[in-house]
Structure formats: structure tokens, C-alpha cells
Symmetry: C2
Amino acid sequence: MIEATSNAVEVTFLPDGKTARVPRGTRVNAAAAMAGVFVDAPCGDRGVCGKCRVQVKGELGPPTMSESKYLARKLLDDRWRLGCQATIQGPCTVIVPRSSLQIAVEGLGEDVSLQPNVRKAHVELPEATIAEARSAFTRLRTVLAMPRLRIGTPALRSLAAALATPDGLTATLVGDECVTVEVGDTSASCYGLAFDVGTTTVVGSLVDLKTGEELAVSASLNEQALYGADVISRIKLAIEDPAGVEKLHSQIVRVLNSLIDDLLKQAKVDRAHVYEATIVGNTCMHHLVLGINPASLGQAPYAAVVQDAVAIPAGDLRLNLSPAARVYMLPVIAGHVGADTVGVVLATGLHRADDVRLAVDIGTNGESVLGSRHAMVACSNAAGPAFEGTSIRYGMRATLGAIQGVALDGDVHLSVVGRTAPVGICGSGLIDAVAELRLAGLVDESGRLAGPEDAPQGLPQALLDRLVAVDGERCFRLSPEDGQPVYLTQRDIRELQLAKGAIFAGIQILKRQLDVSDDDIAEIDLAGAFGSYIRPDSAQVIGLIPKVPLERVRSVGNAARVGARLALVSTAARAEAEQIAHRVAHQELFARTEFLDEFMAAMLFPKVE
Amino acid sequence: MIEATSNAVEVTFLPDGKTARVPRGTRVNAAAAMAGVFVDAPCGDRGVCGKCRVQVKGELGPPTMSESKYLARKLLDDRWRLGCQATIQGPCTVIVPRSSLQIAVEGLGEDVSLQPNVRKAHVELPEATIAEARSAFTRLRTVLAMPRLRIGTPALRSLAAALATPDGLTATLVGDECVTVEVGDTSASCYGLAFDVGTTTVVGSLVDLKTGEELAVSASLNEQALYGADVISRIKLAIEDPAGVEKLHSQIVRVLNSLIDDLLKQAKVDRAHVYEATIVGNTCMHHLVLGINPASLGQAPYAAVVQDAVAIPAGDLRLNLSPAARVYMLPVIAGHVGADTVGVVLATGLHRADDVRLAVDIGTNGESVLGSRHAMVACSNAAGPAFEGTSIRYGMRATLGAIQGVALDGDVHLSVVGRTAPVGICGSGLIDAVAELRLAGLVDESGRLAGPEDAPQGLPQALLDRLVAVDGERCFRLSPEDGQPVYLTQRDIRELQLAKGAIFAGIQILKRQLDVSDDDIAEIDLAGAFGSYIRPDSAQVIGLIPKVPLERVRSVGNAARVGARLALVSTAARAEAEQIAHRVAHQELFARTEFLDEFMAAMLFPKVE
């Protein structure tokens, strides 16, 4: 009897069996959220889409007008209700069909539930009457139950043009703004784009915003490379050439537009149905995409022009999308730690981790982040272009013919991109090669490559034969004797020492900042198109990353782009990205004398155990 | 003793002598507002502009850091303080110099205080440091003390470009958004535009937003007239020609751009320093300016596409202004009662009047509004083009040679535009002519023009000689015998009867709606470029407007444009405009059988008293 008069009642959600105790009068969707069950209500619980159908056994309030409208008599008789409308009046069991659950989109850490910034609603606009000749926009507000709905010029024009048609119209909503109106029911066609703009490579993906599914991926070289391989050369052009910013901006816009063309073609999607693009990139690329002069990034204190998230019309960037389309640039952390790093953190879930993790993004411009949900610190990796192959004698990107993996086992075993004869070596191959030579005793702690005369005793002749001098420089021949020669040179090893030393020294500073030892690091995430191909054991042999048990090292691929995709499909993830940018404390390495000390030490190779 | 311990103290503001009793601790500006004295604080009382200087005798709190920054030691010693900072601690007398008072901008009713949506702030951006390399935009937020400041792409670009200069920078702020950044101190150059887009004529003015002063006015024909003189013909084109809307939109944009060019040239103002334009117009012109298809205005129930105020980038309309410039379209009331009517109400202050007033805007498309601060009703005047001269045999606009005034006094006395020989007759001349003929007994109640044979006895021969037949139609010769002939025809009188009948019948419906008699009408405002030239006595003789004592009839000129200008210089006026659009109840005349009855009656001329 006491229970019957108590206000709180228990609700069980099937098939999960999760429960919540809620006050009588609570709406089913609210109770579900309390139980950790997320019912999909595209209209935002306003009772105007009829999508959040659930079947309920137990005591509920009577059906509302909205339920009578969206549920046939037969369905209501079978105890189907709308979760946003029905109120709980006694103990209930609620069956949430799979079709009514929010879709979870895969991240690399925790998944996020599908909750895009863009949604489409098909509506029949009520007729105006002589007695109440309300404007079309006012009637759209009413039928969408969005009294605060805003509208811009392109959408007003499309609204006027859609009035005369009999099949209703579909409004595309971005937040509380109607960005376009289409004739008939086009609500199934709702797409977005996610871009990672790197210094060397630009990757984009086309995402179905109704499912979170990635429909197509396309990559291109960043044509700005015409003006120099690294960020510094681009900043220099922006400073020295009055038209420099415009040149660089146009280049990157051209690349983005060609990726858009390719993605639309691959997935056979109509350009008009792409409503939003999210973009990550290092701070310099971020500024150049926006057409902002990055000069301030080129000199101490390396302050960005803007670090907050930026949401703008796609037309501002001359992207070849509909006038309704928007761009959301994820926020940057600092002048040298960009939105790509925010994307890596978001995708790996580092910011929500209980234990300390390290994420290392290795690319033309890479960054390291160390921390957990309690605190995060980051620095940029002044690694130079060694890993991209630029400063390496036979260096190349990981394209056809690139040595991407090396093993020494009596002789040299190569893994070559495309399984062809090798023509050069890419970053992961370089790391492997040096690690293997180090393990074989052919490279010492200081980085010196042995010659045939001072090689350790007992090595197979096949290896010793590869120790040669080319133009007076010590080299190790990687290629077979009969093919096109590919050598690893003494200078290449020095370049690698500089690059890995810079990264490792940065990580040391971050560890000191958070008072963390290697033992405390629960996970190391290797990110970046290139980072993913590194063999973790080789990375540890050369001293690129801290020595943690190998099972704690994970390759997470292009995590920055995954972050951009999560921000595209989830406004909650977007809000997290903005918090991440505020919470990560940036460590400027140039300003620290301790960095130089660490750097000198880190250039040496670790002892072989 | 009791007073000394009481918390409230009296503050007197000079030179007005206004007083307020305020709690101790109240800031001077807040106390001033309570006394009805409006101190100008361009930074919004944030202590970052140093403009709200007042001289105080009495007990105040100690100077704040902001006061120490903006007031030299000598000024502080002379008891000068910043009104937004200084707190009242005891009875005070505050001298508010004229330079610290808000500027009042002249309306036609009550004046409004200068409070434009656009303001400029010259600031020195603090340097970024290695320890805290905050982005330029973050530092701009800080120095402006606007933590919620937003910024768009053009402003980010200009911010990046302005960083390297030594003279500080000037941010232009529209609401809480920074729309552009200029190098050095350009805060004195801040301009806006106000347009009235009529079916026949477009008028624009250039306004100094620092003073509210109108620097230049320019007018042009609406070149859309190529496609038809009235709104109906334009709507028809929009419906029938797929490119019709774009043609009409381009035409009006071209006109607006040529007016902008002329205004900038007249006032020698740099285009880059124009930041906002406000626009009024009837609903059809409003839609065409926006590039919205006005088809729905052409058929019952005449619903607009959008009736709310619209604030958009000027680039959406292809106006030739800086990328930072905005457009604010005042709201419309209904499909046939537009933003121009909102402008008339705003300018005349009808919405704030205690007594009932009537505003009649006469033009190609005119409207009437009746009411007071308690209630307002409006209808459109289906007057047709008679007043514009289009359907009148010798009709013409009020340009060189147009008869604009007529008096009969033994013979005919004409007032001709340009004091030349008459070549035609414009609207005000038409009204005068018919009124005078009516008073002379040459036009009867039914509108019939006398012939020489049935003219009243005793009229001077000079008048009788003017009663002639031309092509079998009764006419009255207005022109002298020796010049180019200008006749008033029987058909012209019929056209006038239709036009004035429609307006008067509408007014009757409005009066009935509010249960108001002629005696209750405290003021009649005749608005519109043409309305201003009508002789009120003639308007009453022909029965165009209600018979109220003549001193209650006022010509208010282009009140719609004054309304646009008030909305430009005052955000408070803008908010009032939005309230007006909601509060005015539109009366659709076509839907009422009573209108036809009123119309039939109103076509007759009133009895001559």
C-alpha cells in the first residue's frame, strides 16, 4: 500500500533490462534516458515526427493529440505509444524496438550516439486562411513546433519556391535555423563531410547523417606543397608575398572541392543534399582553410589568430556546396597544436579515460597529448619531415615501391608497397630498418653505422655484404643486389635521430608536467596516416615512444579524421571537442631550456636489452 | 540622523535638475537612467571606452582601475568620474555635460536616442606571451570585455591582417558580433543606409551612425516599373516567367546599388565604412528585395512568405558594400500591409499615442493605420494608380510642368512644379481641381461634371468657358487658353472617385473595428511622398479622409523612410518596429461584404457645407 501511494515508480526497459525509478508523470523518453537507454527522437521530443515509438505494458497517461495523429488506432490498441508524449503513471515495462534507439557511431574510444547538427523534417504546411493569413515561415515554425526557428536568405527563397507544390516540403534544420527548404519528402537524403587537412595530405569522407555511415573516403595531396613541404615555408610565403594567403587559401579550397567532387561521385550523392562539413587540421592549415593570414604562427609566442571553434557558411570558403551548407572548424589548442589534435583526443576518448594515456600523432606536423579525464597536456612534435621521407636519401611517401617494413633474419626481408621491387623507403620502413640494424649491432647507441671492417663478429655474410660506402658515406644496402639500389645512409640515421629525439623529448616534458612515469601510462595511441604503420616494437627500439609493455601500444589510424567525423554526426561530440580545446594545456617546448637537454639525450638510441 | 543611516540617497542631475532617489552603491549611469537622464556609454557600461564622463559633487566610492586609466589625475581631482564606474555613496549633484548625453535622433513623433546596432571600438590588443599565447581573437574579447563576442570569416581575415600594425585596431561590432577589424583608429567613420523601396520610387539616405545625422538623400525610379506599374503586374511576372523573380530582384538590387554609389559620392564616404542598411517597403517589394517569389501575395489569402524582421549579410542581396555589411529588413504586417507601414507607425509614434490617430500612406500601394498605444488596426488602400497619374488623361508624376495645386477664384489659379507652363497634372493637383470644382458646384455629389448648358447660375464666364467637350467627353480646361492644353476629364473624376472611395471605405472599416468616430480621431497623418503634398482641406472636400478639424491633419512626408532611419540609429526603435508588426491587426478588406457597401457609399462626394 505504501508503494501505491509513493510517487516514484519503477520502469524496466527491454530488451536491455535496464531500469529507472522515476516520479509519476515522467515522460517515457526522459525515464529511458535516466536508465541509460537513448530513444531516438529526431524532433527533439516535440511530438512532431512520430519516430520515438515504444510498446508499453503498465500504467500510462492517456494518448495525446500528437500520439493520435502519429499512431494508428490499431497501434494504440497494441499499446504502442510515443516515448516523448506518454507519461508514466505506474510501474511499467517498456519495449524499445531497435528502430527507435539512437544509432551509435563508432569512435576509437567510446562510441557516440547519432545526433547530427543537421536534421531534415518533412512537413505539410497548413494552409493560410483569410481570417489568419500567417506567413509561410510562421506556419513552418508552427508545424515544426519551433517558435524560435530562424531562417536565412537562401532558405527563404527555397521556401517561397516550394509553396505551390502538393507533396509537402522538407525543411533542413541546423540547430534552430532552417537552412533550406526542398519540395516533397527528401528527408532520407541528408549528408555531411568530414575533412582532415594535413600539411602534406588532405583526406575527406562523405557521411550519411541518417545512419552515421561513412559512404566514401577520398584523399589528395595538399597542393600547397608547391610552395614548400612544411608549415614554415607556407607561413613565409604568407608573410612575404602580399597575395600569399590568397594563393595558399585558393590551393587548399581547390583540393577540398576536388575531394568533394570525388566523394559525391563515388557515393552517387546529390551535391544539394550535403549540408555540413567539419574540418580538422593543424593550426596553420586551419587558418589557411579560413583564408586567415598565419603570420603570427611563424614567430614567438606563436599565437593563433583564432582558437575557438568556427561555424560559418560554406560559401565563405568558396566550397562548391549548396548555399545552405555550413562548415564547422573544430577548435585549435594553440599555435602549434591544432584541431587535428583535438580530433585525435576526441576519437581516442583520451579526455574521458580514467588512466593516463599518451596519443602521438606523427606526420609532417605532429603532436603528443598526455593525460586522462583529470588533466591533459600537449606539445607539438618538431620532428621535421624525416618521417615523410623528404630529408631521407631514398625517402619517399608510402606509395608503390616504398619499403614499408624491414626485418633482418640472416638476410634482409622487405615489405614493399604493392609487392613490387623497392624504389625507395618510407617512414615506417626507415624506423624498422634502423631498429633492426640497432638490434643486429650494426648501429651503435650514438647512431654510428658500422662499416664492413668494424661490424660485430659472427654476423651472416649476406648482411655484411650490404655494408658499403657510397660517395664516401657509410650505407646499408636495403635492395636486392640485382635491382634498383635503395640505400640507408649514415645521414639518414642522423635525420631519424633528430626526428625521434624531438618527439621523445616532448613526451618527457609532458610526463614531467603531469608527474607521470612510463609505468603509469596505460595506453599509447599511435595516430596519423603514417603513425598507424609503425611497428610498435621498432618504435621502442629506436626510442621514439616510451618503453611500456607492447600490448599497451595501439595503432589508431587517422584518428584526427575520425574526430572530425564524430563532430559531424554528434553535437555532443562537438561540445566535447570545444571542452577538449579549453582543457588541454599546451606546453611550448621552444621556451624551455630543459627541452634542449632532453632533446640531446633523446637523440641517442636506447640500450638494447 | 535618520536620513544619514537610510540606504536611499537623492541625486540631482544638472543642467536639467532631474532627480532620483537610489540605494547607496548604485552606479551614476544607472541612477541617471532612473532620473530620465540618458548618459551615453558606447561600450555598454563596461568601463572600456572612457566616454561617460560626468562631474560629481558629493559622496562617491573611490575611483576604479578603469577610471584611473581613462581620466587624467587632474580630471579626477576636479571630481570628473566615469558614470558607469562611480558608485553613489551619499547625496550627490551630477553635472552631465552635453558631450556625455545620448544624442536624440529626430523622429516625427517622439525622438529616439542614438543607440545604433553598429558601433566601433579602437583598441590596443595586448601582446601574447610565451606563457600565455592566447589567440588574437581571445585577446580582442578580453580587451573589449565581451566574453561572448562572436566573429565571422571576413572579420577573422581582417583581424589577422591588422595584427602587425602599431596603431592598434578598430573593431566594428554589430550586437555581439565583430564584423570587421580595421587598422588604426577608424572609430570616427561609421555609417549606415536607410531605404524605402516603393513600387514606383526608391529613396535612400546615408546616415552618420556617430551622430544620427542624415548626410545625403538620393531617389530613383524603381526600374522594375519596366515590367509593370503596379505590384500585381510584378507578381504576375514572378508567377509566369521562371526567371521572373531573378529579373525583378536584379532590377531592384541595381537601383539600390546606384543609390549607394550616389549617396557615397555626395557625402564623400568610403564604402568600407558603411556597415548596415535598413530597408522598408511594401510586402511585395520586401520579398523582391530579398529575392523571394511573391506569388503567394497575388492570390487569396495573400499570405506573405515571411513577415518577421530579417537580418542578413548585405552580400546575400549582392549589395555593393563591404563583406562585413548587414541588412535589416523591417518586419511586415501582412501580405498587403508592409514594412513601410511599420516605418510610418514607428516614425509618427502612433503606437505610443494616448489618443487615437489615423495614418494614411498614399502611393501606388498605400495603407491606413488607425489606433493608439492600446490597439492598432490597418488595411491596404486598393486605390489603384490614379494618384500617381497613370490612369488620368493628362496625369503625370510631380515633375517639371505638373499642376500640383489648383484654386478657383473667379478664374483658375495653378501651382505648377518648376513654375513653368503646365504640361499635365499630378495627384495633389487632381485632388485640388476636383475639390475646387465641387465647391464651385461644377461637380455634383455623384461626380458628374457640369457642361456649359447646366452649370450653376452666376459663375464667372472665365470658368464657364473652360467647360468643354473633347472627343465627346465633358472636360474642364485647366491650362491657359494659349498654352499646351491640360484637361480634367469626366473619366478622370470617376477614377478619382474609385481611388478615394477605396481609401475612405477602408478607413470606415478600421473605425468600426475599433469603435471610433471621427470625433475620437486626435490626429490624421498624411504620409508618403505624395501624401505630403495634398491640401488637407481638398482631401476633406472630396471625402478622401474623415472630416476632423483641419488643425488635426498633419503632413508627415516620407514617414516610412524616417522609420527605416530610426531603426538604423536605434536598436530600441528596431525592437519597437518588431512589436508594431505583431501588434497591428490587419483587416483584409476583400473578405468583407461590408467593404463593398462602404465603397459604394464612399465613391460619392460629401455634401458641400
